[in-house]
């Protein structure tokens, strides 16, 4: 009984995760500038990965090896902001028409 509930919950998370990734890919087409597109990709990085890996954990629960998926989550969330930060920094440093793409303000 418990296994059935966990499998059903895992399936819901997996399906929603796939939908999140579909939305992220759609966002890449809907947005028109590299920095905006990065936000769409970030949806997959945060919410998509979370849903897929929680789904995987629930499918294989309750085993210790399923918890390894948590490590994947932790390492992905540690490394992905660094990559995003570098891409964004390169874009802002090299794009001479930045002000036409987004409003710059100081607070």
């Amino acid at each position: 009984m418990l296994n059935n509930i966990l499998t059903a919950a895992g399936l819901i998370f997996l399906v929603f995760g796939v939908f999140v990734f579909f939305s992220a890919v759609l966002g890449l087409y809907r947005f028109d500038y590299v920095l905006n597109r990065m936000h769409a990709a970030a949806v997959g990085d945060a919410l998509g990965i979370f849903c897929i890996l929680v789904g995987v954990i629930l499918f294989h629960a309750p085993t210790l090896s399923s918890m390894k998926a948590l490590l994947i989550l932790v390492f992905l969330w540690i490394t992905s902001p660094v990559a995003s930060h570098l891409i964004a920094q390169v874009e802002t440093a090299t794009n001479p028409n930045l002000k036409s793409e987004c409003k710059v303000e100081k607070r």
Partner: protein
Amino acid sequence: MGILLFGLWVLLSGKLGFEICAIGAIVSVALYILACRTLGYSLSGDLKALKRLGGGVCYLLYLLKEMLWAGLVVMRLIYTKGRNMEPRLIWFHTDLMNDSARAALSDAITLTAGTITVSQEGDLLCVHALDTSLAEGLEHSEFERKLRKLERDV
């Protein structure tokens, strides 16, 4: 840190047993001693970090909640606004004094979809926000308040 290393060992082993725990304990202690001698870790430092564990866990749970919520908000924007976004590049100062706290703030901003930290020079942060609604209150965020509280507890 030794306990964390031991936990990692058990997690990567994938099963619990006397042999795994015994070898894991020996390897963890050896690595911890090595870390103390070469990387500047110390037992007193770890005990101090242990005192901040509650605040740290609260911060991480709040970060997780914000990440998931921001993901849903950006998903909604993808379907509703598309190319009609009003992106902003915002420069603001942070009150955080500690370098690691500033790095944690930058990471938190980037991890929440809709905002990306573009650069950080001293206390000056440059953040790209996907839409005006996501840029509101960026300079006085809850992340900053929680990190400031953690910083004070050091």
